[in-house]
Symmetry: C2
Subunit: 137 residues, 2 copies
DNA sequence: CTTGACCCTATAGTAGCTTCATGGTGTTGG
DNA sequence: CCAACACCATGAAGCTACTATAGGGTCAAG
């Protein structure tokens, strides 16, 4: 076996924090590694690959639950991958929705910002006024 | 005094949950209201206005810390409102950044999705393959 | 006098980690 | 030989902005 990597080395290889690795183990995304005499976790190549898979998914903003599901399919090569496609479609939908929302938000914020273009007394600040419904007029 | 509204009525007026109102009080965004004989919180018009202000800010995705700051300026009419403008500029920056990020993300996800257009065995799924760096080729 | 709608407090849970407190392991230098 | 230092271990708390839950009190109507 090539289970010889300490957690710090693995963390450096996949550029994530040691605590995050332990957290993934605790959450059941990473199998419990072997231990050294001194009770240090010892990882092998398959752990590193699995971690990279997880981090890649996370960099795509997937939830850990979704990553768990993807790992299940990764672990079952004969299973039909339809749900993987569906998961991705749904995730794309979420991201697209969020973009629309944020664009609307940005427009609102810029509009608000346009109301007070120079510093003045708060009582005259149009931004604060605009944020206070019922105090309009 | 017009301190006569119970928390449920206020919640209905500003369309937020009762628990949220208590939470804001606990977090120091809403002054502690008076109490009835039966120990019920009693709110007046100024509480409702403040709550609407808070909810408006939150609908613009501001953090509670930022809302706290804005409330400070709302409470100090003679203060110069420059920091308000700055806060808003920064917030707009965050939102704009996030939009850029999410657009990149969406493109990546669509690209990934394009790799597996029909359900098949997981071991042949290009999506799972693409998510597994080191297992390429 | 009981039912039901409403209110109270305190505590725990959510997501995905990060930080902290406290202590063991292992290697190197004086 | 031992101290210093880097590294590792565990368990618990902290972060945001709430939401939910447990276990109880208040109040008006029937």
């Amino acid at each position: 076996m090539s289970n010889c990597l300490k957690i710090g080395e693995v963390a450096r290889m996949v550029t994530c924090r040691i605590e995050t690795i332990r957290y993934y183990e605790q959450q059941g995304l990473l199998p419990t590694p072997g231990r050294s005499e001194g009770n240090y976790r010892l990882y092998g190549r398959e752990h590193v690959e699995r971690l990279r898979f997880i981090r890649h998914c996370r960099s795509l903003d997937m939830t850990l639950d979704n990553v768990k599901l993807l790992l299940k399919f990764r672990d079952a090569p004969e299973e039909n991958c339809g749900p993987v496609d569906a998961l991705l479609d749904e995730h794309i939908g979420h991201v697209a929705d969020r973009i629309v929302q944020l664009k609307l938000l940005e427009a609102q914020l810029r509009d608000l910002r346009g109301q007070c273009l120079s510093a003045k007394a708060s009582k005259d600040c149009r931004i604060l006024q605009a944020l206070s419904p019922g105090k309009e007029r």
